[in-house]
Symmetry: C2
Subunit: 512 residues, 2 copies
């Protein structure tokens, strides 16, 4: 095997330090969201901003540009494909960083900060007009940014597509339409079946709202993680206002959750979800010199990341076999069974009813919330939808897709923070996660047999091993779609997810 | 008031960023010692080392040197004294940083790391010979460093004194001898009186070892802090293997403690101690532009810092009045009174018996442990004591001072980590803290009346206000000795501490 050239060694050293700085930022973020006292926020903001400017400098400086160019120049026919791929990914990111106009970046930072503040106010007062000018400005600035980035993007990429690249590399809106149309066509009939069923079977508001004491929820979350291979020598779990998972170093993984009053499964399912993210991070390739700190050792897309969290949350923790096992633990720990049996406990884990709020949506309706946002942000960014018409369009489309209409914009187009921070192109990854998880799960089942069987036997470690062998080590050697094609032998499609949903609805509506 | 000149403004900006970097380091340290999983240590070490090299660069670079020189050149007759003092302190520290030989610093880092590892091994196997060569090397390197620093130090400073400056600015060994001799003469007779008293009165091993459940200890610590003005919007409390306090930003203070099995008051007293450190940090001057991020806004010495922690631990939390109030809370929370009354509870808070281990020493004997170390490190650094004779000298002097002799070096000269890390000149600050605390307390009592009376009335906030008005705002405008002279009107002396000890022994030996 040829030795890496000198330029490659120097480049690696540079990337290593960049990783150190990036992970210091993550450590500060973790502290901020778990234990930092509120008055520390101002200084913490300054610390993070200092690190951000150091990071930007390291990722766009002449020095770094020279290192990349030298490594590229050093490439010869004997260079391994992994080196080529690493340099290709670094070059892409470098061009992106260097074509960002610092003045525009600064104007965006101001607009994002203002957008966030104004959005908070608009949501509080349920007054879209308060937010509209800020949204208009953010759209304008992002359009400008897309135009600046256009020359470095492959020909024909649209503004929205250019903005979506960092979240989902190589994504196109046509492809998303192709993937999402089956959702907007296939899910409403399923929803209709649930609606038409007797209330008890639908596990709707009539399901018992078991009150599980906070301490007990914490214990159950800890037990869940223990049973899924949580290793306290490499992992740490805390509480935070919003659950998240983050990586602080190559052997330092953190996850958080929080107990929500009147939502007995919220902390438990969020723990499963975040642990899925963390397992992916823990399983990324680090084994040889072509990975960490190189791009090949990174997560490939938001959609793939989300597929891993959704797999553990939805395919495992919300499965019937899992509910059956854990119903016993929950009831035992509570000293009573407020659900009246494991089938009803399982229904409690799987509410299926349309709601107005995305973050509270169930597996069945979640995708529709995304379709709505994808269509509308496309319309806003590049199809000329005036900002002033957003509430009306939101409410209309919500009615078509989910059969319900918000009475207040606070529960409609003002509910998410993403646009207020100028994030366009981010939402689709959430739905892609469902699709990818379902398609991977079908392949997994072809090889391992039904997931329900493995979970029923308490053999989640088999499922984990399959992901550890087939999915996680791919890193950024492939993009999200390529990953699915490579692992499952078929292009990504909505069919596995719709088949899964349909089967689940069938079983949920059955009388136990 | 004259406006600060341009050079001063640029220098301030530089210092501000240096503070940001330093506080990022503190945040990583805090995380490392509270929640970081063990496997994260390797990467964390690399993060800290990156920050350390950035900090060193910022504090010794040509750019920084130029900024300081420009600010000095800008000084004219109209410059306020605070500006002069700030520049004087910055110049001192800059000269120190610049005269450090990078090669020697690197050799020291290796020797410290090796020293630590070898010391762990020597302590485990109780074999001083394993540690001796590493100690010899560390002494040699530190002597070299002192020689390199000598040209920038005021004439006539000895090697040990040069090494001690960072901990206790302007300290001299003659002055320490003067302050410590009364301790080595005055404490043994007090110890003799305790020894001669009946065992029950001495609150020795016969005191009841109340078992206080961990949760309850945590609650009592939280109550203690609440009663002393702990503000959760600016402070945060965690657990760690060793208690510490640290400042993460101008409005972000952290303290930690830990519950020690069979030591019912350990967490409680450590909380009082660390809170004292934190109060000092919280009270340092930040109000105007001459302080934060300037040196004037910093703690002035280790001894003064320790005086603040010892004040709250010993003068307040170990006081009779405090014991009387908290005996009720402890017993109430426990649902029983294993002490059999508040006098015995107070004795439990104030064990008075000689032991071999410094970190377990009581108020009476602590100073003697320091005298021993001060004498021996002086002998090692600059009086030609061969390393091989250290154990024998340690044991002999321990016998003279405390009347007990270690049977094993692990409980003797191998017990502390300081020398293993090449820290010489650090120990005296611990004893200075007792002396300074006692002398400040006498002044406080002259103005406010007896501390016992204030504590008995639950009016610790009056004591705190006195410190907040008289001590904390001084920052580095004065060194430790100057601070004492300015606040108490008299030079620092051991007398107040000895008077305090003598009175306390009297009352502890009284039959209640």
């Amino acid at each position: 095997m040829p030795q890496p050239g000198q330029a490659l060694v120097r480049l690696r050293e540079h990337l290593h330090q960049t990783r150190l700085l990036g992970s210091i930022s993550s450590a500060l973020y973790y502290d901020q969201n778990t234990v930092m006292p509120p008055a520390g926020a101002d200084w913490r903001g300054k610390q993070l901003s200092l690190l951000a400017s150091q990071l930007h400098e390291r990722q766009s400086s002449e020095t770094y540009t020279g290192l990349v160019a030298a490594a590229e120049a050093e490439l010869d026919h004997s260079a391994p494909a992994s080196t080529r791929r690493n340099l290709q990914l670094l070059r892409q990111e470098l061009e992106r960083q260097r074509s960002l106009d610092p003045q525009l970046v600064a104007r965006l930072a101001v607009a994002q900060s203002r957008g966030n503040a104004v959005w908070q106010e608009a949501r509080r007062s349920n007054d879209f007009a308060v937010f509209a000018p800020a949204l208009e400005e953010l759209l304008q600035l992002r359009r400008e940014q897309a135009a600046q980035l256009a020359p470095i993007e492959p020909a024909g990429r649209s503004p929205w597509e250019i903005l979506a690249q960092p979240f989902e590399p190589d994504v196109s809106k046509d492809r998303l339409q192709e993937l999402f149309t089956p959702l907007s066509e296939g899910i409403p009939p399923l929803l209709e079946r649930v609606r038409a069923s007797p209330p008890a079977a639908a596990a709707g508001p009539s399901a018992p709202a078991a009150a599980i004491p906070e301490e007990l929820q914490e214990t159950l979350c800890a037990e869940l993680l223990d049973s899924w291979g949580y290793d306290p020598s490499r992992c740490q779990r805390s509480r935070s206002a919003h659950p998240f998972s983050c990586t602080l170093g190559p052997a330092d993984y953190r996850i958080t959750s929080r107990v929500v009053p009147d939502q007995p499964f919220s902390a438990f399912l969020a723990t499963a979800h975040e642990w899925g993210h963390s397992l992916y991070e823990q399983g990324l390739p680090r084994g040889d010199d072509h990975y960490f700190p190189w791009p090949l050792g990174e997560a490939t897309s938001m959609g793939v990341h989300e597929s891993q969290s959704l797999f553990w949350e939805c395919r495992v923790a919300r499965s019937q076999a899992f509910a059956s096992r854990w119903h016993t633990r929950f009831s035992g720990a509570l000293g009573s069974d407020p659900w009246g049996g494991s089938h009803s406990f399982w229904r409690g884990l799987n509410p299926m009813r349309p709601g107005l709020i995305r973050v509270e949506a169930d597996e069945l309706t979640y995708g529709l919330h995304i379709v709505l946002r994808f269509e509308l942000e496309l319309a806003l960014v590049e199809q000329g939808l005036p900002v002033s018409e957003l509430p009306e369009q939101w409410n209309r489309r919500m009615g078509e897709l989910l059969g319900i209409r918000p009475q207040r914009d606070a529960e409609g187009c003002l509910q998410d923070i993403h646009w207020a921070e100028g994030l366009f192109g981010y939402f689709p990854s959430y739905a892609l996660g469902h699709l990818i998880s379902a398609q991977l799960a079908e392949s997994m089942e072809r090889q391992l047999g039904p997931i329900e069987t493995a979970v029923g036997a308490g053999e989640e470690s088999r499922l984990q091993r399959w992901l550890a062998e087939n999915v996680w080590p791919l890193g950024r050697s492939v993009n999200g779609e390529e990953l699915v094609a490579q692992v499952t032998g078929a292009p990504l499609s909505a069919s596995p997810f719709l088949r899964y949903l349909s089967g689940k609805v069938d079983r949920l509506l059955e009388t136990p």
